[in-house]
């Protein structure tokens, strides 16, 4: 998308840091990351799919399991060991998953604004779904972040928004 074109704004690292710090109740460092290959990567990902009022996929939040486990654990003050177990297993248990789902749900506040179609979190799915290719190859905006949480593994997050 060309610079200056009206469109969905994605948070800068500082804003995402403030958001996660407030939500998780502890200092969270967020920095800009190089673009991660979401399709060819060996990492396991979880993807939050955000739809507009016509059920069109407009935005996505893709996190590696390490970050999803970190956020899911930190939100409810669950010890690091549980997050580590999820990383080894390559997937989140039901409790961590429910917690992380709420993080992704609340994250929708960054994706909405007065000049763009309203979106809501429709579902949280394992992996990177095929229909994300439209966002990855189209005109959607993209930001990649490295997220660090003291006492937890931390990980990678990608936001996509059309």
């Amino acid at each position: 998308m060309a610079l200056g074109t009206p469109g969905r704004r994605l948070p800068v690292p500082e804003d995402l840091s403030s958001f996660l710090t407030e939500l998780l109740g502890q200092p969270i460092a967020v920095s800009k990351s190089k673009e991660v290959d979401l399709v060819g990567s060996h990492h396991n990902f979880l993807t939050g799919r955000y739809l507009d009022n016509k059920n069109r996929l407009m935005c996505a939040c893709v996190a590696d399991v390490a970050l999803a486990a970190t956020a899911g654990a930190a939100l409810a003050l669950i010890p690091r060991a549980t997050a580590d177990e999820a990383i080894v297993a390559g997937q989140l248990d039901d409790n961590l998953r429910d917690n992380y789902h709420e993080v992704v749900n609340i994250l929708s506040k960054f994706l909405n604004g007065p000049t763009v179609p309203h979106v809501r979190l429709a579902e949280l799915v394992d992996g990177v779904p095929d229909d994300l290719s439209g966002l990855l190859t189209g005109t959607a905006r993209r930001r990649d972040y490295d997220v660090t949480v003291v006492g937890y593994p931390g990980g990678h997050l990608t936001l996509l928004g059309n």
């Binding site: 958001f19 409810a76 429910d98 917690n99 709420e102 506040k109 909405n112 604004g113 007065p114």
Partner: protein, 120 residues
């Protein structure tokens, strides 16, 4: 004071309950419901003094719950705690009879401000 927390997220109900207990509001008895349908039933049995509700929930969302509540003549004080921030959401919430709207994530100061507004 009896507070009914309505949210389909178990962890968010826990976080709101924790914030309530840390808010210095004195003795608080907390009830919980997962959606508007369950909340309407809980209101009848639990008889809360205050309802704190999410907006987006399955079966019956928050504004539908509030509309049904007010239509039944129940005027219990009601606040939304939601990730929805669009101005039209605020208008819709107040139009349906909400006392305040707090956006997630919230900090202790914002939480206490919302209740200070209620008290005044």
């Amino acid at each position: 004071m009896k507070v009914l927390i309505v949210d389909d997220s178990k962890v968010m109900r826990m976080i709101v309950a924790r914030a309530l207990r840390q808010s210095g509001m004195g003795n608080i008895e907390i009830g919980e419901a997962e959606d508007g349908v369950e909340a309407l039933a809980s209101v009848a049995s639990f008889e809360p003094d205050l309802i704190l509700s999410d907006w987006n929930m399955p079966q019956m969302n928050g504004v539908e719950f509030l509309t049904n509540l007010r239509a039944s003549g129940n005027m219990t004080r009601f606040g939304f705690i939601t990730s929805e921030t669009h101005p039209t959401i605020m208008e819709q919430a107040l139009g349906a009879g909400a006392d305040f709207l707090l956006t997630k994530p919230f900090n202790a100061e914002q939480f206490e401000q919302a209740f200070a507004g209620l008290a005044s």
